[in-house]
Symmetry: C2
Subunit: 621 residues, 2 copies
Amino acid sequence: MAKPEQPAPRPPEPGVVAAIVAEVYAHCRADTSGELADYIPELAAAQPDSFALCLATADGRIYGTGDTTTAFTIQSISKPFTYALALADRGPEAVAQRIDVEPSGEAFNEISLDPVTERPRNPMINAGAITAASLISGHNAKERFQRILDCYSRFAGRGLTMNEAVYASESRTGYRNRAIGYMLRSFGIIDSDPDEAVDRYFRQCSVEITCHDLAIMAATLANNGVNPGTGARALTAALTEQVLSVMTTCGMYNAAGDWVSTVGMPAKSGVGGGILAVLPGQIGIAVYSPRLDPHGNSVRGVAACRELSKRLELHFLHVTRAAQATIRSEYAVSDVPSRLRRSPQDLALLAEHGRRARVYELHGDLLFAGAERAVRVIEAQAGRLVALVVDLRRVGEVSAIAVRMLDALQRELAATGCRVALVDPDGKLGHNVSSLDPTDPRGRVFIDRDTATEWCEDIVLDQFRPIDQPPCTSLALPDHPALAALSPADRTRLTERFEIRTVARGEVIAERGSGRSGLYLILSGRVRITFEGADSREHRLVSLTAGMSFGEMPMLIGSPFVNEVRAETQVRVAVLSPDRFDRLTEHEPQLKLALMERLAAGAYAQMDAAVRAIAVRGADY
Amino acid sequence: MAKPEQPAPRPPEPGVVAAIVAEVYAHCRADTSGELADYIPELAAAQPDSFALCLATADGRIYGTGDTTTAFTIQSISKPFTYALALADRGPEAVAQRIDVEPSGEAFNEISLDPVTERPRNPMINAGAITAASLISGHNAKERFQRILDCYSRFAGRGLTMNEAVYASESRTGYRNRAIGYMLRSFGIIDSDPDEAVDRYFRQCSVEITCHDLAIMAATLANNGVNPGTGARALTAALTEQVLSVMTTCGMYNAAGDWVSTVGMPAKSGVGGGILAVLPGQIGIAVYSPRLDPHGNSVRGVAACRELSKRLELHFLHVTRAAQATIRSEYAVSDVPSRLRRSPQDLALLAEHGRRARVYELHGDLLFAGAERAVRVIEAQAGRLVALVVDLRRVGEVSAIAVRMLDALQRELAATGCRVALVDPDGKLGHNVSSLDPTDPRGRVFIDRDTATEWCEDIVLDQFRPIDQPPCTSLALPDHPALAALSPADRTRLTERFEIRTVARGEVIAERGSGRSGLYLILSGRVRITFEGADSREHRLVSLTAGMSFGEMPMLIGSPFVNEVRAETQVRVAVLSPDRFDRLTEHEPQLKLALMERLAAGAYAQMDAAVRAIAVRGADY
């Protein structure tokens, strides 16, 4: 190999994590033991003290130190990637018929098959790797190798090339691998030209990468097979799991047990001096340092992986408590009411019976253990509930088993007469808002928790409202609660100043930013006050119904409407114009005071509900 | 073995998860292949079609089906537990000098050592297990075995006993194991009486358990070494990781690679018919069915583990997105202000400069990958910030590396002049509220986010408040904003009706539930209004300062105080008594209206702030 150019040392990256990586680098750099691979002169020509360490996160941030852009040949680290392509090309069953997945306990270049299965013991020894190379699809040898190169390039996120000198040298001296090729052909494991498969294997081993490339390849495996830099999928999730499984038991030759104990990450090394290690879902690690230990693994590479695993606690069996964190919050609907402001009668009913409907906010990934916990908590309450909300908006990955479990839970609850409102705007469970019939006994899908809560409140009210107290949906102006404290004479005098107006459904009554336009008392229908959230979407601040009022604040202090007011249904309102409202101060100050006291009572009730909601959700608002 | 009593079949458990376990049970029950172990008559006497399946969560919920209370002998499943006790007794280094951790590729009862290391290849083959048994501490043989029994019992959560008949039979026929014992003695791996070690090994294999016991033992390993039923620690977390590592590579004899690929859980089986499998942090699985395959593993046990792994997606390399979920929410302090109500001048300053201080709410477990992400996000903003809040209350496990990283981040930020408020009431980072000096440049520790936010707001105000606009801390009654709209003559008439009162720090001004006691205008000092949360702790609803008012609502509508009002500092207030307030309606209705309009403006500002906070935190309030 041509003596690689040594780039000028880069200044250390700033930042907490870069500092940790630099520390580990300095710690491992001190060890100058080990020897270069020398079976071909090109490998022996590497800079012996060259050293690079890269840590890449599953979302693609790379922390690198040292000679991260020095090129070296991938060698045996190619094996899991060609195996991956063979699995994708032929399917796991067909590949398994030719390559086993058991640790060998033998040398990596043994010219023998398992005596019982008559197959190579695994794809990480040469016999298995050459078999994998023979299984790559393509019309001819050139295309087959090009597909390997394209595959590696997808993992690395850039177009990789082969080092011709290393390939020529490997090809010239690779008698042992040719022997393995012919042995494989004689046992029928390879059923094509063995020379072609061995030649392809030499070529794949000669692909040039840098430590930076290798880190991205590791991060792609950590990220479920998707390259976090390019966003392109290099391998399916299921095959990524399979490749990582084989790396776990067979990746580090005869030191698999020790590697699992002390490092605890699927890994692969090559005699070019590279090591790749993967903490699934989290981290990819790449090291390059060409001095090798007697096993053929990079001395500093092994040390750096151990050190990183120890310092950063990266062992894949390290226990977390993720399963316990599924239910983010749970409470009765009466504790955090919907933003439909209810009448005093309905509020009293909800205060009494609102515990029959509960909200469960889930978060994190919904794998089996998390779903089990959520289902268990909900089932424990089930007999007592008539409705419940499951809010899935904060949930990340939802496994197929979690979908099945929540589906089964809904059916189980339906049998007890309890309906479920799923808050699932992204359709994580596979239903969308319109896919469930409104009369489906299992429940409905909503895009926000507020309307889901309102739906549950309605179910509670339907069940517990006395038949002789139907909900008040319409009233005459003199019966409006804002006028309740007035004497009959005062009330008559005041009602005469109001004008009755009918507003069509969907019509805007007051625009955001518009000036004071009157004091509005609702006689029938529903009015919705909305605000624009940080997400630039409209959110409901509150819905108001017959017996409630709006527009007081602009009337009192002359400020514009901060929120839009719109008719949710056809609405009848009684309006006291700004003119008449102002003139009251002069002509009927006591009447106006009495009116304002009633309006204040309404505002007070609203504040009280807000405080209660804060209290329930802890000091967390 | 005495023919075990068959308890009457229990009715199936209700519930979603129990139904899944029952389905897998039914699926695997169909397979009646395999043979009973028959090397001693006691094992051959088991009910061949006996079958039990238990799934236990890491927090101790057990789902069981079938013959879950049928007793059987633990056999080789004892090996990881005795190995665990040896590790605890002697330390990992001393044990490693006698037992390696590499997969053997040989039969479990091979009478040989690794030719290179001259040690048993791992603790899951008989040679390694007998060596582990020889390493148990104790004054005599009886005590040593009792310590093993006590150890297993801690894992199972009940006192286990030995089956004497099985032991007698094993002891009578165990020539091969005796040969292994003498071989170990001849190589100096055992340096005590080999007969005693082999006898102890026979005894440990004869300990009787049920499938239910085995599930709890598995759950204890899944739960980091703590028995979730009893709460007792059976093994340290570090040794649990080590035992699970060895089970991963060596637990299933020669099928380790296939097991990792298709099941993906550390596991151990025994010829008694049991299998134990562990998904760290989440799930323990136990199966009992005595028909064995040619490897000596329970046929239905292997099938049930595969089926559960496939259906429930339990593979330990299954990728989750936990690392991406660390930052639960982040926003500027101006978006979600503290509950100290600020003066209009300060509000204007915070509106302009509040983005120089941010809040980061973290959640989930803070392992390396999660901490990396949090640190990266914060570092990206660092140069622009003068203060920030890191809220750790929702964080679960905090790894040592995460503590170090946050510590380094604080030092890094301090160097740029940015101070950090940690909300960490439980001292997860090892600081407590008083351990950091208030003048420490790195920042302070708080018990809630509200006071941490207030501290950050103060830092912003200190930096950006013009020198010629000192904060208003005290005012005379005529300058109180509530009276601002009045004509000088009206103001004089009204101020005469107020009484000035001084309240000592800590004194209660209005108790929760007390009646209307006056309209209070604050002239100097701070008043705190608190409510009792669902957690039964006092929370601040709001703090008020000079220029603000309280008590309006009870005055207007005659309701009692719902929240306690207390002097945070010495306070001067001007009080308008209920009597005088009421008489205003009659004598000065227009003056009263003007006053109320000003008070409404204050309430309006508060509502507006609440709406803004809701908008920022999405539709999530």
